[in-house]
């Protein structure tokens, strides 16, 4: 597996651009998009480990809807909610929908990196479990094993 892939979703362009640059500078494979729709598109097409998602975005899909859609497409991706205002209700809803945690803006990059690390770790253990399970399953049908593993490695 190569470097971790992060998708940052925020309507505030200045914030988005800078955060993506800083993440990239720390050797993370980060991509930024400005709306929920674009994020869903991205998730549909590529594999991501973690999504950093702004809850409150004016116009179009808001954070919660986007989160629901993302989880539907890639259930295993970890989502960190980011918000400018703490509303207990939205946060609880987000957690119910399977978000990993939620953070309040402005957040120091160091803190964000700590959370990101935790999220990657969780994603990684998940992935390994699934990979293990898949290998076990494929062992029972030896003919297909190599082909499958080859395919997964490509992604």
């Amino acid at each position: 597996m190569d470097s971790f892939r992060v998708l940052v979703v925020d309507d505030e362009e200045d914030f988005l651009e800078t955060l993506v640059n800083r993440l990239k500078k720390r050797n993370l494979d980060a991509v930024g998009v400005k709306s929920g729709e674009e994020a869903v598109e991205e998730i549909r097409e590529k594999r991501y480990d973690v999504v950093i998602l702004d809850i409150k975005m004016p116009g179009g899909m808001d954070g919660i809807e986007t989160l629901r859609e993302i989880k539907r497409i890639q259930p295993l991706v970890e989502v960190l909610l980011l918000t400018g205002h703490a509303s207990v209700e939205t946060s609880i809803e987000g957690m119910k929908l399977g978000a990993f945690d939620y953070l309040m803006k402005p957040i120091k990059l160091e803190e964000l990196l700590v959370k990101l690390g935790q999220a990657f770790e969780k994603k990684d253990t998940h992935d390994q479990k699934i990979r293990g399970a898949k290998i076990k399953e494929l062992m029972r049908f030896p003919g297909r094993v190599f082909k499958q593993i080859k395919e997964e490695d490509k992604e």
């Binding site: 200045d14 509303s87 803006k105 402005p106 990059l109």
Partner: protein
């Protein structure tokens, strides 16, 4: 101002109650007195009337008897016999034996000449022809005169009868003893003020009254006021009321008057009246005391309730205001947090870039780094304000655990002991020993105490004392934080719980401490109140319900 309102209310209630309860009392008292007075007066009047009638009968009988005796003597003896001194004297003796009171006896011929006279005066040989009684007797046969002075110049009255003896007409005449007659009339007198006398039609006393005049003086009441049967009149003379009962005698000339001061007869009534007045006054006093007492208690209770209601209202207004501000703050926070986040990221990015080799060579690199550091610090300060405003109490639901309030207070005090010591502030604690363990969020509670104690230290500045008291009052725990700092004006007290209200210099105070504390305690179902007077320090009182932790 409020006190005056309650006092006037109290006065009005007392007034109305007294009016309503005194009026029937007065009416009852007065009507009882009036009834009693009437009964009493009727009784007195009745008695007086009976006495007058009875006495009149006695006097009538006296006159009739004396006239009858005189007539009998005249009828049974001839003129010739009568003119003998010896015989006439004997007859006077017989008459007085039959009925006393005859003073003298005289025989008068038809020419008015007194032929013979037996008695204490020298009246023999006098001629009565011109006297009014002579003509009267000659005309009617029997005559009882009014009282007059006559030849003897002393008041008396006479009874005379005419006798027809063949051709001769003569008169037998006798004087009745004024004393005997007077004492007979006076027998009707009763008591200290009673009086009885006879008055003739012209209003002249025929017997001596006990008071107000003597025989032959004029009577002050016109006799025509007295009617046919017995009449009772009431007259007031020099402040005393008297009842006069008058009965005309059978001869229709004389009026027997019996009178009496009402005071004497009515004295029983007055005794009763005095007793009644005392009882009514006593009742009034009792009513007055009861009314004042009850009204006082009532108005006091009312005042207390009103105060409670207005305190409650103040709290409601306070929490409404804070809730509205909270909502607004949440909106504002979002608008501020986003730009802050951008600034923070941009600064971070610049720092990242400064790490690159070519920039590291720049001579101003340290200045740059310093400036960026400062920007970050201030962004962080702004972030703290905004996060504080939202209250990290709000971010998470309170996390309930078993909390020992005294323990929490002790920890907080220890935390601040050093800060206090530097400023020469003495912290005294007095923790109630009977506080139960409650279910609460310890971190939040600690935050509240921390705020209150730092505020007290900040308020005092240097040299002073803080007292921290905890106590259990019924089903609540109260914590007082009291300082001897400068205190607050009423205006300040109203605003201390408002967000961003601070009197401290920028950077030192955010004005959020009390606001957050208020929300935390409110969420627990308690209250924070401030009591202060300018120049006399301040006391913050936290009141929390005792929530017993569930057993695990």
């Amino acid at each position: 101002m409020k006190g005056a309102m309650y006092r006037s209310l109290q006065r009005r209630i007392i007034l109305v109650t007294l009016l309503v309860s005194y009026a029937p009392l007065f009416i009852l008292g007065f009507s009882i007195y009036y009834q009693f007075y009437n009964t009493c007066r009727d009784l007195t009047e009745q008695q007086l009337r009976y006495r007058a009638q009875a006495q009149a009968a006695v006097v009538d009988l006296f006159l009739k008897e004396h006239s009858a005796i005189l007539s009998a003597m005249a009828d049974t003896n001839r003129f010739d016999f009568m003119v003998e001194d010896r015989n006439l004297s004997r007859i006077l003796e017989v008459m007085n034996n039959r009925a006393g009171g005859f003073v003298d006896l005289g025989v008068i011929n038809s020419d008015g000449l007194q032929r013979t006279y037996i008695g204490p005066y020298e009246l023999e040989g006098l001629n009565y022809y011109d006297e009014p009684w002579f003509a009267e007797t000659m005309a009617r046969g029997l005559h009882v005169s009014d009282v007059f002075l006559g030849f003897r110049r002393s008041p008396h009255f006479i009874i005379a009868v005419r006798r027809q003896e063949g051709n001769r007409t003569w008169i037998l005449r006798s004087t009745v003893d004024s004393e005997v007659f007077g004492s007979l009339v006076r027998a009707a007198q009763v008591g200290r003020t009673g009086d009885a006398y006879i008055v003739n039609r012209d209003g002249t006393f025929q017997t001596s009254p006990r008071f107000g005049g003597k025989i032959l003086d004029p009577f002050f009441l016109p006799t025509n006021l007295f009617g046919g049967s017995t009449t009772v009149l009431e007259r007031k003379t020099d402040g005393h009321t008297r009842l006069y009962a008058g009965t005309w005698l059978k001869n229709n000339k004389w009026l027997l008057v019996v009178n009496q001061g009402t005071e004497e007869e009515m004295s029983r009534l007055f005794a009763t009246r005095d007793l009644e007045i005392i009882i009514i006054c006593g009742g009034m006093l009792v009513i007055l005391l009861a009314t004042v007492f009850i009204t006082r208690a009532l108005v006091g209770r009312l005042q207390q309730n009103d105060q409670k209601v207005s305190e409650l209202n103040a709290q409601l207004i306070q929490s409404d205001k804070l809730a509205a501000l909270g909502k607004m703050a949440a909106g504002v926070a979002h608008e501020i947090n986003n730009p802050l986040a951008v600034i923070q990221q941009k600064t971070g990015w610049m720092e990242d870039l400064l790490e690159e080799e070519e920039l590291k060579q720049s001579e101003n690199i340290e200045e740059f780094k310093n400036s960026l550091q400062k920007i970050e610090e201030h962004v962080d300060r702004a972030r703290k304000v905004v996060h504080g405003m939202l209250g990290y109490a709000r971010k998470m639901e309170p996390h309930l655990e078993d909390v020992d309030v005294n323990g929490t207070l002790k920890q907080t005090t220890e935390l601040l002991a050093n800060y206090a010591r530097i400023n020469n502030i003495d912290i005294q604690t007095d923790f109630g020993a009977d506080l139960p363990i409650i279910a609460a969020d310890q971190a939040q509670l600690q935050q509240v105490f921390f705020n209150l104690i730092t505020n007290a230290i900040d308020a005092i500045g240097q040299n002073g004392e803080i007292r921290i008291i905890s106590e259990k009052v019924q089903d609540q725990i109260r914590v007082h934080v009291q300082d001897n700092g400068p205190g607050m004006t009423e205006e300040q007290q109203r605003r201390v719980f408002d967000p961003f209200y601070t009197t401290k210099t920028t950077g030192k105070g955010t004005g959020l401490g009390l606001w957050i504390s208020y929300s935390i305690i409110e969420k627990m179902g308690g209250t924070i109140a401030v009591h202060s007077r300018q120049g006399e320090g301040a006391r913050f009182t936290v009141q929390m319900p005792i929530v017993i932790p569930e057993k695990k």
